[in-house]
Symmetry: C3
Subunit: 474 residues, 3 copies
């Protein structure tokens, strides 16, 4: 919507309510977007600017004054300037005494300065009450109204009343506020928008590690083996043939790694006999990034599908088909083998079905879809359909191998073919899961999850301040 054609005036609610004035220092992108939103929410907005007479970019309805004058008009001042420009505030110490000074700044890099911007500001202007807020909301989100996870404003500060004032402003703009404590938490809040996909670090590391390891394995067993044993140069196979061995192996392994912590946690609870004992830290961390593991596995599966579908129009494959055709003709064409037709069509079909369910899992991981289903539906898809996907993809890989593992020629340098490596983790997960869903084991797990404990806790020693006793059975 074109903002310059709409009149902007604060909703003043008649005789009763006086509009609150908010002052903003700084006329950059963020300052202007914040000012516009505040005007639309009914506040009067005053900008403190270096050049109050050159205010062509400011939203209509807002005033522009010098910094000192602007500071006097309001109780709350948003400081929408970069940290490098904080110095001038030193000259305004008097006007800023007793004001709520909101630090909305971000730094381009983590740990760029020894102390957080908000604490630095607090030292610069000791008379003001500094509150760190709004640094997680971007100017673009303020303009476009696209506030969902960006709807949350993290707040911290030493004075509770000042924080209250800022929380009220946040609520008027349709944002929610989360209190993080005193100003010492400012460093953490300033780091928050600089995080770059923190939950993806471990899955990406695992993926990169697997990529390097499996790629080396297949190159050795394919290109180097062929060069050493026959002298032929097979290296062109790296681009597609070997890539199409590596990607499915990584995908299946990571999908299994996505479901392995769940079964391990269940067995741990069975072993402990209770659900109240903490999991080891590494298991906790693993369980936190299961969704990212699964999505990365889906990405590799998607690449595998595309690399498979391009097989027929590769020059190499066409050359092989022509060679085969010519040899078939000279040999007067071998008989059609029904078994080969059955198992090849089967593993292709299972692969397609597995991928289709995989895509369904991915779609339900989208934030809007996973929030539109209740937790029973979510568990049904992610758990039941998830294990079904793992099963289909594992059987797909087993059928792809068929009886190759029985032939000695498949074992180059006494190492198994690469595809067999990918079957290890999935089979472990599927077998463990099979154990977990047998009725007797399942019953115990359900009871533990409802709060039952194999070894009841020791009695609570009665303290002097608590004359009543808890019955044993609680």
């Amino acid at each position: 919507m074109e903002t310059n054609s709409l009149a902007m005036s604060p909703v003043d609610g008649g005789t009763g309510r006086k509009p609150t004035t908010v002052c903003i220092f700084g006329t950059g992108d963020f300052g202007r977007s914040l000012g516009l939103r505040l005007l639309q929410a009914g506040y009067a907005v005053v900008f403190g600017s270096r050049r109050p007479h050159n205010s062509s970019l400011l939203p209509r309805g807002a005033q522009a004054l010098s910094h000192a004058e602007a500071a006097r008009t309001s109780e709350v001042i948003f400081l929408a300037v970069h940290r490098e420009n904080y110095d001038f505030l030193g000259t305004l110490s008097e006007e800023l005494v007793g004001k709520v000074l909101v630090d909305v700044s971000n730094n381009p890099r983590l740990n760029q300065y020894p102390e957080s911007n908000a604490e630095y500001l607090g030292k610069l202007v000791p008379g003001a009450s500094v509150v760190k807020a709004f640094n997680t909301v971007s100017a673009w989100a303020l303009q476009s109204g696209g506030l969902d996870a960006n709807r949350q404003v993290l707040i911290c500060g030493d004075d509770s009343e000042s924080k209250e004032v800022v929380v009220d402003i946040a609520h008027s703009l349709g944002l929610t506020a989360l209190d993080k404590g005193s100003l010492r938490a400012a460093g953490e809040i300033e780091d928050f928008p600089l995080q770059l996909f923190p939950l993806w670090r471990l899955p990406l590391a695992i993926g990169a590690g697997l990529l390097a390891a499996v790629f080396t394995y297949v190159v050795v067993l394919d290109v180097i083996f062929t060069r050493v044993t026959t002298g032929k140069d097979n290296s062109f196979r790296i681009m597609i043939s070997l890539a199409n061995k590596v990607f499915p192996i990584i995908s299946l392994t990571m999908l299994a790694l996505c479901y392995l912590p769940g079964v391990m946690a269940a067995f741990l609870q069975l072993y402990n006999g209770t659900k109240y004992k903490r999991f080891p830290d590494w298991l906790d961390r693993w369980m936190l990034c299961r969704k990212q593991l699964g999505l990365l596995a889906l990405a590799f599966a998607f690449l595998h599908v595309l690399y498979t579908l391009v097989i027929p129009f590769r020059y190499f494959v066409r050359y092989k088909v022509v060679t085969w055709t010519i040899s078939e003709m000279k040999a007067n064409q071998s008989k059609f083998d029904n078994t080969v037709a059955w198992y090849t069509d089967s593993y292709i079909s299972l692969g397609i079905l597995g991928f289709a369910f995989y895509v369904l899992l991915g779609i339900t991981s989208l934030p809007s879809v996973s929030n539109a289903v209740n937790w029973r539906e979510f568990r049904f898809v992610q758990s039941k359909l998830g294990h079904l996907t793992l099963l289909l993809c594992t059987v797909h890989t087993i059928l792809y191998g068929w009886n190759r593992f029985l032939r000695a020629s498949a074992y180059r340098w006494y190492l198994p073919p690469a595809y067999m490596l990918s079957l290890v983790v999935p089979c472990v997960v599927l077998v463990l899961k099979l154990v977990l869903i047998t009725p007797c084991v399942d019953r115990v797990v359900m009871r533990i999850r409802q709060g039952w404990e194999r070894k009841p806790p020791p009695d609570v020693a009665p303290s002097k301040s608590n004359p009543s006793q808890q019955p044993l059975i609680l």
Copy 2:
């Protein structure tokens, strides 16, 4: 964000506001997540626990006392324990008199007990005011803040003031509350998170039915016919060839079933001459699950595309190509047939375009996308582009058949080829839609939708309490 490194303290707003204390019985997943959220929103939180001295898992800043002591500190008590453990509350009847007791429980299965948990609780503790709430919000949603459709708390209870208190707490946590009436509605609220995709039941049933029917049809006409007439064993074709006949038939039929109720409703309104007459229940139910019908149809179309793209590297297909190549060579290669090139390329091209629009329809059905467009844009995509997709896919199927329906050999056992079955419903829908968009018919439909009625309603009989008369023309 690592929660254990952040200090948690209630925002107490200075001299004016006293923090409200909320008591939580139960230290499981939900109780701890709820306590943490309440602390972050500014409440003081007291846990009532069986083992108040073993409180290592509780969020920092929360207190842990015995149940009786905790109950005394607060007006509101959240009961975060399973129904099986409600008994101990009997011993606390005195402390619970006059308190608001919030039942947040869920059962693992529908209709597990004769009466709802909340009503059972009410009988157990008659002095307390029981409110059913928060059972639709999961512990994970509270922790991660991922609250969208899970943002809604369903509330019911006999006492309005108690409900008010719980509604306020919900609002402070950034949730919205929906009042469902008295405590008799608790059973329905408890059933809500146990539903498993209720709107998908009918479409999945239709899909399964079509799957069984069409699959049987193609197996009979392909594998069994071949076995009976020629003795050859064609059964390997089930995995891919026959699957790739079944899936497109189901997809096209379900896509047509997605648009059929719309045209039926329009004709019904034309027949009735008004939009104020209720549709039959079966039509209402059908119209409610149109989106799920369409998405299921898209899933089958996606499978059809994958099964088609794998054709060239199937053993069976390569064998056929080699056979064809050899026969072509011996026959000195037949001439290139331009017509065949034209219509095969055309039906493939139309299929691709139809699938692309199909995917676009699916993307706009995602919750976040359908909420980002206004209703005119939504109708444009779902209705105009939707019918265009149906048209493209129908022409794709017709061209695929080409002149096969003219040859007698296509009719095995006097039955039509399977693909012709899939054309019935789509052609009906497209013809009816064509009638509806002719200007004269369209004009009448628009007027009816704006409120015009062919037969005006009877006069309102003037009642004693209403001396004024409504003019006839209203």
Copy 3:
């Protein structure tokens, strides 16, 4: 959830709060949905209807009276009828004096009437205070609770207190309100839900223009050239072969057009030496629709992928392969060319990787995903991964051409092959971006973005009302 089985009663909060009564004129879809929502939020609802005794469709718990009686019960009246039916309000002028009359209407077409519905209503009922609101919220959104971007109610009106009342109602329903000024803004608010993808106009126009231009180019250079020079009829190639030349050219060009304004803006800032000078309007407009340009480019890339994957089972291609096989056999099969294998596998592989990143870009453009990441993560994906995608697809196209540009036969009628046209814009963008990321240039751009200016602004002339002077360095 089945609404007819739930009791609906307003939450009256005990002795303190009296339920506000809201009156709704009109019992159509919107009126009934709004009434149901208001009941669930705790309001008492009275419908004003032409036929108060025939109220079978109304939500339970709502009253139905004549228009005049209903108007007397409440301060606020929602007018949920079409503009064509506004006339009857003339008879109710007395009862409507001093009421807040909320106009929620929409028209089927833009500019259907000379003045907005709200202003027309204002003339019809001069004693009432007309507020335009709720026309952007659909009945279906009210029913299903699916309110996200539809959560925003645009409000305008001449009287601030009346607007306050409506804003409060909106908040109770969980909606946010945006004040657009006086009633003169009603026309703009009424146009808002009639917009049909306004940000897509320019990208779709560019796409259509490119489609026409490139399609003509390839048809001339392929079909017409062949017909003129050899007399053969190649026209069947239009459906797939030529389509598969056109789509990738458009896709790559539009992807480059998506990133071109960014580099142009950076160079403009470098030239100006400041970030405070406004961009030209055409550049602003271009930058606003970058996301739509990118998504349209992705759609064409998706079509290109599908058209490529169907190559092997086209009749035309199978005929060519058979021809090639037969000639290979007669020529005793040419030697396997490793270089051809390398570069063809490479360009296919790069194309797949480029498309995979392309899809990732598309997924992160979904509203729910782009709102779940912070701005640093969003910039990383859209900018770094975006330019990587552009690079991969450009190298894919260059490798596809290989050494064709060196052969004279590739230049038909002295014009370059079509694929070379698609390389122009991408190479320009990539070269300019390369310049921008060299450390010396990048440093200057970063400083400009932080507020540094090459030519400091002129001194602020001291005014009589402002005795203090701004220091020069600010």
